[in-house]
């Protein structure tokens, strides 16, 4: 089946947009994972809080941008609190303890959201100005999805600046490479950890705020996307923000194009119902196959941070 060029452009945009969304979540995850050596399953909870808080603040301020800022600030504050109370005690423990503890936090967060906002999914729409389609490259594309791409790229630039151009970034890079040496040089690594954790929480909340208008804002929404975010982190190389960006875009494109191309490829081989069913099953595996291939060729991921 020949693919119409405008459709190909639209699907590439879709892949980019999914990738950028994944990058927003994976960036925070990879920072925390790589620099603090902490597996944080509760990262998805910040994503969920981001979406719920944005929905609530939109109701209060009636302004989407302000609501997103409010949600991100709240999530960062919450991140600091959780780092001080809970995460601090986990750095010296092994990964299994961290998984158990942060999984417990996830359950706690889900129950808290259920008690505060109720079990039924809540409503969050794009801001009116972006709730329409715009024409790009000759195709009608939802404006809000373009905004997601823009926000994601802006965050990428911000992180590049933060990590490459600032003193904090230098310490973060040093901490990711050799934590003991940074400690030996007399840097207060604990404060860096708190900062990194807060940045991670804020990024996850931003992702949730941007995802809320197109996805269901519901209890447990973070766990669904966290698995994809971990795939991105593993593909990109643990601790590498650049790896997270490349990995996220790869996963977004492979997932989107897999869902589109597999059905038409299989339609030539099987009857429509079988082809549709098989393609669906294969498409949901495509990103895991991508991960397997990347790991087979580069076990440390695409952009390994040396340690």
């Amino acid at each position: 089946m020949a693919i119409d060029p405008s459709l190909a452009i639209e699907q590439t945009l879709n892949g980019l947009q999914l990738g950028v969304m994944l990058f927003l979540i994976a960036a925070g995850l990879t920072l925390v994972f790589g620099i603090m050596d902490l597996i944080n399953l509760a990262h998805g909870s910040f994503y969920m809080f981001g979406a719920y808080l944005t929905a609530t603040f939109v109701g209060m301020f009636d302004h989407f941008g302000l609501a997103v800022l409010g949600a991100v600030a709240c999530a960062a504050a919450l991140g600091i609190a959780i780092e001080l109370v809970a995460m601090r005690t986990l750095y010296q423990r092994d990964h299994l303890d961290q998984v158990l503890a942060t999984f417990g936090l996830t359950l706690l967060a889900n129950e808290a959201v259920k008690m505060t906002w109720g079990p039924v999914p809540i409503f969050l729409n794009p801001p009116a100005a972006l709730d329409q389609t715009v024409t790009v490259f000759g195709i009608a594309y939802p404006a809000f999805r373009l905004a997601i791409i823009a926000v994601g790229l802006a965050v990428g630039l911000f992180l590049w600046w933060l990590i490459r151009q600032t003193r904090l970034g230098m310490l973060i890079r040093a901490g990711a490479t050799n934590r003991t040496m940074v400690l030996a040089l007399g840097v207060d690594i604990r404060r860096i950890f708190t900062t990194v954790f807060a940045i991670g929480a804020a990024l996850a909340a931003l992702a949730g705020a941007m995802a809320g208008p197109i996805l269901a804002v519901q209890v447990g929404m973070g766990e669904e996307i966290l698995i994809l975010a971990f795939v991105v982190v593993v593909i990109g190389g643990i601790g590498s923000v650049r790896g997270a960006l490349v990995g996220a875009l790869l996963v977004g494109l492979v997932d989107t194009l897999g869902r589109i191309l597999l059905p038409s490829a299989l339609a030539a081989l099987f009857d429509p119902a079988t082809a549709a069913g098989t393609a669906g099953a294969l498409a949901s595996m495509s990103i895991y196959m991508l991960m397997a291939v990347v790991l087979a060729l580069r076990p440390q991921g695409l952009f390994p941070t040396s340690r």
Binding site: N110, P121, P142, I214, I260
Partner: protein
């Protein structure tokens, strides 16, 4: 009448020491956390409401509900069923939302000689040749609501429909059901992974295929995602969207918002059905839980009423499988949806309605009946069920 029978039941209970010593135990296995929790919570709340209204007794027997959260995972549902049967000694299992979970727990339930009264999942696999004496469905066979929508789309004269569903047993049943009554052209047939979040890619393909109608089956959170994205892509104004009630049920309407307004969907029940039982149920549910019930809540409520009627008819011998099966088959309860009876395969024969998403007087999105589509409709598989 119900109050009289409750009082009577209480009186009988007071003089019958055996009944007091042997409570009826119900295993409520349903999805209470994670995505899809809205459905499970509605079934549980509906069931609990009926139990409360009957004074904590079903069929005049003190009833104990053992609750378990299956997290929408088949392996956890099986573990829960095993534990509830072996440790808690439940007589009946109910509550399961998802067809793949229902199929997974069947072997455990049957081995334990326990009845599974499904308040939602109605897979075709359990309706035909594999029908089971321990399985009853008080909701519908999976295909039914889709069959009704197939009939509606056919009646409206559409001839190039685009079909989408998640890739799991109920998803395949859905499209099969739709196509049983819709015989026009098919512009495309797409199965997406269960739990998919973003449908942008599929929507672009859909637009390119230029269908004249779109039929989707996306329950719970998937429905919220899909309907919001369908509107944001500018498709709602261009191509009419149809679906079963699951994609436009009360549990997701608030989250979808005005994107759902005016969409047609089909169901066996609607909050505005004018049976006295339904009016009482909807009012009581709103008073107790502060929200309009979804069809899942109505099914949970009916599951409790069905068990109530069967246990009452079985009397002291409700733990005798043969007797309880016979009284369950009678379905001698006043369903909130109106006329209800069981087919030979233990699936319902009932009416199906076309509904429309509207705003009620308080400005809350809800469903309203447009017309009846099927009168006393059974399912396509009952003929191949060889159950005695």
């Amino acid at each position: 009448m119900r109050r009289v029978s409750t009082v009577l039941a209480a009186a009988i209970l007071a003089v019958s020491s055996t009944a007091a010593a042997d409570p009826l135990k119900i295993g409520m296995i349903t999805t209470l956390s994670g995505p899809g929790a809205g459905l499970g919570i509605d079934i549980r709340d509906g069931f609990q409401l009926a139990l409360d209204r009957l004074g904590g007794m079903l069929g005049g027997v003190v009833t104990q509900v053992v609750e378990g959260d299956d997290q929408r995972k088949p392996d956890i549902a099986v573990q829960l069923a095993r534990r509830m049967i072996a440790r808690d000694g439940v007589h009946i299992v109910t509550g399961i939302v998802w067809s793949n979970l229902a199929l997974a727990v069947m072997p455990t339930v049957v081995r334990g000689d326990v009845f599974f009264i499904s308040a939602n999942a109605g897979p075709s696999a359990l309706a035909g040749a594999q029908c089971n004496p321990y399985f009853f469905n008080v909701a519908w066979q999976n295909d039914n609501n889709h069959e009704a929508m197939g009939q509606v789309v056919q009646d409206r004269g559409f001839d190039n429909a685009y079909l989408m569903a998640p890739n799991y047993p109920a998803g395949r049943d859905a499209l099969a059901g739709f196509k049983r009554f819709y015989t026009g052209g098919i512009a495309g047939e797409v199965y997406t992974p269960l739990g998919q979040l973003d449908y942008a890619a599929e929507l672009a393909q859909l637009r390119a295929a230029a269908p004249d109608a779109v039929f989707v089956f996306y329950p719970g959170g998937m429905g919220i995602n899909f309907v919001k994205q369908y509107e944001q892509a500018g498709l709602k104004a261009a191509i009419p969207l149809f679906g079963p009630a699951f994609s436009f049920s009360q549990d997701i309407l608030a989250a979808v918002g005005d994107a759902a307004l005016g969409v047609n969907n089909t169901a066996q029940w609607s909050p505005d059905l004018e049976t006295p039982e339904n009016q009482a149920f909807v009012a009581a549910f709103q008073t107790t839980y502060g929200r309009i019930p979804s069809l899942y809540a109505s099914q949970g409520y009916d599951a409790a009423l069905l068990i109530d009627s069967a246990v009452r008819a079985a009397g002291d011998r409700f733990d005798d499988d043969t007797i309880l099966r016979a009284t369950l088959r009678e379905a001698a309860f006043d369903s909130v949806r109106g006329a209800f009876r069981f087919n030979t395969n233990h699936y319902p024969i009932q009416d199906f309605y076309l509904r429309e998403v509207v705003k009620n007087d308080a400005g809350v999105l809800t469903n309203r009946v447009v017309r009846k589509v099927f009168d006393q409709h059974g399912d396509a598989y009952a003929d191949t069920c060889g159950m005695p």
